[in-house]
């Protein structure tokens, strides 16, 4: 049987983490090809909707990465991201979805190696969690509900 290959969505801020991911490339630091990166201006841009949507669509993991605290290109965006995600994680806990499916990490523009390591770790973690069955079940409920309506 083929090994489970998770799909992971990464929201990366343009200024630090996306640049760090680029540096991983320039430096040829290898990592598993499971992640799909979506560039956003700032980690503060992340709306809960994005994470919900990704999980609803069947993403097995979601990464949000921005500048280290104090380094935000927009002064304070990453602080908002941090606060909002802390709350969102509680919501995940409440719904019974493993919190490990969501990861917030700070990656700077000079941390190419760290980015590669981070993605490798997340991919491994998510592999361990297995397929995103939890949300699939939720999705099924919702769809059934909609159909009934």
């Amino acid at each position: 049987m083929n090994e489970f290959e998770p799909k992971i969505i990464g929201f990366l801020c343009n200024w630090c983490s996306y640049a760090g991911a680029d540096l991983a490339g320039v430096s040829r630091f290898q990592y598993p090809a499971n992640i799909r990166i979506i560039r956003i201006p700032c980690s503060g841009r992340v709306n809960h909707l994005f994470i919900m949507r990704a999980l609803y669509d069947g993403a097995d993991g979601v990464l949000i990465s921005g500048c280290h605290p104090g380094d935000c290109h927009y002064q304070t965006g990453n602080y908002y991201a941090r606060r909002r995600l802390e709350i969102f994680k509680n919501l995940l806990y409440f719904t019974g979805i493993p919190q490990n499916r969501l990861k917030l990490a700070w990656v700077s523009a000079s941390e190419g190696a760290q980015f590669s390591k981070l993605v490798t770790e997340i991919t491994d973690d998510v592999k361990e969690l297995g397929e995103n069955e939890e949300f699939r079940a939720v999705r099924k409920d919702i769809e059934e509900f909609c159909n009934e309506q």
Partner: protein, 1471 residues
Amino acid sequence: METINNKAVGKVLVVGGGVAGVQASLDLAYGGFKVYLLESKDAIGGVMSQLDKTFPTNDCAMCILSPKLVEVGSNPNIELLTRSKIVKVEGASPHFKVTVLREPRYVDISACKGCGDCANACPVNIVNDYEESLTYRKAIFRRYEQAVPSAFGITKYGMSPCRTACPIHVNAQGYIALISKGEYENALSLIREVNPFPGITGRICTRPCEEACSRAKVEESIAIDLLKRYVSDKEKITGNKWNIEKPSYNGKDIAIIGSGPAGLLAAYDLSRKGYGVTVFERMPEIGGMLRYGIPPYRLPREVLNEDLNILNELGVTFKVNNSIDNTLFNDLKDKFNAVFIAVGACKSRKMNIPGEDLPNVIGATDFLKNALTGEIKEFTGSAAVVGGGNAAIDAARTLLRLGAGKVEIIYRRTRAEMPANNEEIEEAIQEGIIFNYLRTPVEISKKRESLILKIQEMKLGEPDSSGRRRPVPVEDSFEDKEFDMVVMAVSQEPEIEPFKELSVEKGLLKVDPLTLETNIKGVFAGGDAVTGPATYIEALAAGRKGAVSIDRYLRGEDLRTNREKEGPYKEELDVETKGVEKKDRAKPVLLIKEKLKGDFSEVNKGLKEEDVLEEAKRCLNCGGCSECMECVRACEPKAINHDMKASEEILDVGSIILAPGFDEVNVSKYTQYGCGIFKNVVTSIQFERILSASGPYGGVIKRPGDLKHPRKIAFIQCVGSRDKINEHCSSVCCMYATKEAVIAKEHSHDVEPTIFYIDIRSFGKDFDRYIDRAKNEYGIRYIKSRVAGVTEMKDGSLKLRYETDDGILNNEIFDIVVLSVGLNPPDNIKELSNILDVELNKSGFIETLPFNIISSTKNGIVAAGASTGPRDIPESVTGGSAAAQIASSIIASERGKEIVKKVLPPEIDVTGEKPRVGVFVCHCGLNIGSVVDVKSVAEYVKNLPYVIYSETNLYTCSSDTQEKIKEKVKEYNLNRVVVASCTPRTHEPLFQDTIREAGLNRFLFEMANIRDQDSWVHQNDKEGATEKAKDLVKAAVARVVDRTPLAIQLLPITKRGLVIGGGIAGMNAALSLAEEGFETYLIEKDSELGGNAKFIHYMLDGSSVDSYLSELKNKVLNNSLINVRLNANIDSIEGYVGNYKTTLSTGEAIEHGVVIVSTGAIESEIKSFMYGKSERIITQREFEEKLYRNEFTEPMNVVMVQCVESRNKEHPYCSRICCQEAIKNAIKIKENSPQSEVYILYRDIRTYGLNELYYKKARELGIIFINYDEDCLPEVTLDGENVFVSVRDALLRRDLILNPDLLVLSAGITAEPGNENLSKFLKVPLNEDKFFLEAHVKLRPVEFATDGVFLAGLAHSPLTIEESIVQARAAAGKASIILSKEGIEAGGKVAEVNERNCVGCGVCESVCAYGAIKLEEKKIFGELKKVSSVNPSLCKGCGACAGGCRSNAIDISGFSNEEIVDAIDAILEPI
């Protein structure tokens, strides 16, 4: 000489691409001027690019710098000139003519895609200077990964010594480099480019290359011959064959007489040029001495034949058994177009001693010829060989193989002088040949069947012309020896009888040494026949020289030009061998046999396979690039050109900004600390690289000596600062050392940093807080002590000797020592100052004008950054902006005249159209194409909704593809474009420009990053990478489909400035704005301009503040563009950038576009130290006033106390200027009356930068400095008129009681109380100490996050007068950029409110860092409610609002919720 007109030019030259130069360039380009940014290195970024973090915010240096570098790289009005320097400057302000020397990069910047394939292929490792020698890089390199320009460049130091020493310049370094990579075939090809006989050369060459080899300085030269031989032999094993193209016959014929090495190489060269070549040889086979002089055990005949076979393949005709006589020679002369005589010197010379003609006395050449042709088959007797060259050894060893019982070599000098190869001698000894040194035969006689050799003893005398000591006969020391044969191997000479018509000198043919022409036209001669016996390689060189001459002769070209570098020469390369680890030279396999008779098999079997790579790796790569051409082979876009030459360019500019930065102090002078000697002693900048995530250890703290993790780290401060060599203080070291200690601690908690310092100079904004945190939160240990010395322990750890607080000499062991090296003027500053005619100051930095530390002494040339004295990053950035302001004010009339203005077609209206997407998928050479199946990606996207067209491109960013994209937009009526290639961070603007040129809105574009974030990181997962690429492109298509054209509006600007505060900073800001041509209102709450400067009368350097101030006031009051409002306060400020309306307390309303806050600060009020209780206790400011009024006529006893009510819990910062002020006034009084006694009680003396020189002067004048501790403050008591100050001297550890005539208290600086109000009006923040807080401490020091509001002077933080002026000019420069625009750009990727959904909760307003959102009452569908309103000119599009909106009412164009959700859907929908 052409005269230079004096008309201003709207262009500026910025020298130096560090952060100061970068800032100046950006400001000028945005302000409407063309900029040339000149950088000596390959990339801009300066030292800041090397830093890990910055103090006091611990920002990642690269994160904040890199976007600026990208901005520079993509700005059409900044032209980057890398590897360049100024060589000449003519003209004067405002029109300079600057000659710039541009060194070749060897890579075409516009063609290079920055993929790095070249560096992967490059076999040459050289020390990486960017990584501060901690690691190696390739000869073709990019300075750092994020470098701008991103193109690679090649380091060439010059031609390597091995190559220049070789008479035919075989690129030894090149083929050794290739061998070190295992590229044997390419190595062989490289050899054959100049030498077609590698098998022969690898065996018999005398190797002048090895004599020149730099590796010999370490232990022994590289075994160049054996490496060459290895690749040649390898070819025979692999069966590869050299395929050489046979050129077509050019109709001309050449005769070559003699088929020795000279003749053969001439034949080779000429036949490759298309000549018909016929070689005449009198022996039955070709090869000359190679065949008839060198025995097969040294040069196996199959090797010889195989190497020479190439000549047959080239179609050379050989006429063997063809002796040339005079008739034949003359015949050849007539029949052939040219003749080359290369007959060699094969006649043995005689010694002219009695008995030389006896039978069995034979010349070496004849003997060898006879033995090698089989004429002599056996010889079993004893033989003497006279001579010490290779021919003697060859003869002797051949004799053994013929069966000789005993062979003795008789040589007149010692072994050291023997010309034969050392290996040959060694092997001969091992084979049993007897060597009899310091002997010479004087007579040979016959005795029965034998020969009697009479031998005289010799001794070494004075050196002769060859440098070897001349043998001198020892009188009466004769000896007779009996032999059966005597071989005379003394020397040889040519047979010149056939060439009667040619000039002859000393038995040799006479030719022009440069061209080898003889006295007969068309006849050339070379090799041993001309020079006398020489080496094989010299004969090859002669053959080549002859071929060049003959070719030029037959083409009718000049024979003499550009021939200086033919033949060996010495290139003076500075090859550093210090620290190179010793590694033995590889030894060949020798087959020394006991029984040699009849065995001519090869003795030296060459190197073992396993030794080859290691031997090649011993090469020191003396020349840098080895020119092995691996990079050229690897480079897909063909961007590399090794033949690029340096060129000169003349630039016309209106002014020049100097920002060449600094060079770190050369620590090798500080031997007491062991830098460069002990491996675990590093410089601070090395440690910076060690800490860096992208540094040599990936951010893991290791020490270079053994890569172990150090626990105890010692920082030694003031290395190369505040000493006899460099008297200045380097200003930044205390802070960067603290930062490095803190970051080290953050990296791994177990490290224990200790900082050894003299004074802690944390004088900047929020610096003291940083030090406090380092001490209290991170536990960094600070020891006030100069380290006496460092010694290395056995395990590489380091023992520091220093005096402790208790005065005890202590020894402490650390794992690593970091030297906080100082900042020196750049190494080339003298040269630069001479060319530009600017003066340097005493410390060697660029001299500046009083009150203007930005302007050099030459009109029109400004200077910024650390080249004018030690500066930290914000000071450099501020200086850069201020310099740009001064430079632009000189040429303000030319604003906008030299910049690129593209004429664009009108935008096509696509509203209402169905999306029609074109997708362009890039191969990027092999960078993407070798991993991602780009064809299948392009096929796949064709089936996606709305995709009309897709294609793949080799390089999507190339200019021809840009044209193609435009064509396809037209052809297919595309209204949206997706490019799948590299990163949008660098390439999005390029493609956006392209589609805009095609008539599409810039925002109808999206990129998929399938290189940096796909092919490069999944090199081993082609399938996964291809799937990922499909997903990424699909997501990009989904996003672009959702996109609507975004408009950028230009809102009108009120082109008028408002400056709040009429002190030095405010007045300078107003004047600067006026210089730029903008009307300005200057608001002062007082009744008089001048601010705090009214209380200061003179500067540390003696300049008069009074006269400066009155001049400044006059300028301001008389400037028609400046409206001064005195006795005025601000009642309200409304509006936003470009459109402000301010109401003054006087009722006046002013409309303006920008605001500069320069409200100053106040002197702190003193409550302690009995201030106010006695007339003898006064503040420093009061003291200055009294000094100024000459109130002190008698010598006095003065005590000054520093840090009064400062740097404590209530006032936790340093006021920066008090130390200088105290020293200024102390020097003044001491100079006025030398009998006065002055005591300065201090905590740390903070005379940073060049002010340190005045601290030194103060000490020299006898001013006494007493150090006290924070927790042991001086105490003041009054006894009637008497003031007593008791203080504990923290250094001498004793209590003192002073009884001064005057106690002077240095009060600190406190923020202006009005700041809080103003900060509310302007919605800009204050820091904890109530000073204004700038947008970014490092890179935006005079701006606020809110556009259009700027900051200067004491409102920012405590500063000196000069520093305030720099800030004022920088702020005014920034403000001018806005005022000079046509309009305020608003729109694009900014926030938009859906007012129907908005509930007016105000979350967005509260999270917006830019004050761009406000709640406004509006009528929405007839209902009056509060809704958010976005000011698009202030919005930065960060999306913090959209991330937090609960009612989905606010969104970001270009990053909309819909777009991102659709991208997510696209990715996760199963393919």
